[in-house]
Amino acid sequence: MILNIFTYIFIVIGCFFNILAAVGLHRFPDVYTRLHAGTKCTTFGSIFLILAVVLQSAGGWVAEGLSSSQSILTLHSLIALAAILLTNPTSAHAISRAAHRSGVKPVNAVVDDLEKEKP
């Protein structure tokens, strides 16, 4: 019962942040702010949605005993979560570095410290 309540709370948080990422990708003016919306919000929302899946299947695992099929669902969801957590910030860093080196300027930027840096 308490597990169900926590699963619903996690689902609501995850769906809210994923919708926020989709809206922010349209509302922000340039690449760097869009990256801010599109990467961080989806990472946070994905953590909570996958944790909801893990909570539900872990509850099934405890209820059905040690050799139930829910154990594989739990562990593989955790592996998928680890893959997202490792790869998503790295690819965001690569995208922003590529955008700056290919000459895309930030809109309305006052100070751009990376301009002074030699590539």
């Binding site: 990708l25 990467t39 994905s46 949605l49 299947s57 969801s77 690819s91 690569a94 995208i95």
Partner: protein, 84 residues
């Protein structure tokens, strides 16, 4: 748990991001859209696996996560230098 309706909602988010992918004025904009879309596809695969109680969907999601990471890195390197 309403896993199927969550997957439909994520598909709606993916549709909104696809509009940015087609509109995006510069190539890095499109790459940002692609990266966001990949993350949402991974999450929707995990929720589909929970909906149908199938482990194979989550295995596909793991492999998709690693392959899309490599894809994003290669496109970023292509944008950075202009050629390989």
């Amino acid at each position: 748990m309403p896993w199927l309706s969550i997957t439909v909602l994520l598909a709606f988010c993916i549709f909104i991001i696809l509009i940015r992918l087609f509109l995006g004025p510069t190539p890095p904009d499109r790459l940002v859209g692609l990266d966001t879309l990949n993350t949402l596809v991974i999450v929707s695969m995990v929720t589909l696996g929970a909906a149908f109680n199938e482990v194979i969907y989550i295995d596909v999601a793991i492999v998709y996560a690693l392959l899309s990471f490599v894809t994003t890195l290669f496109i970023a390197k292509y944008i950075e230098k202009g050629k390989f």
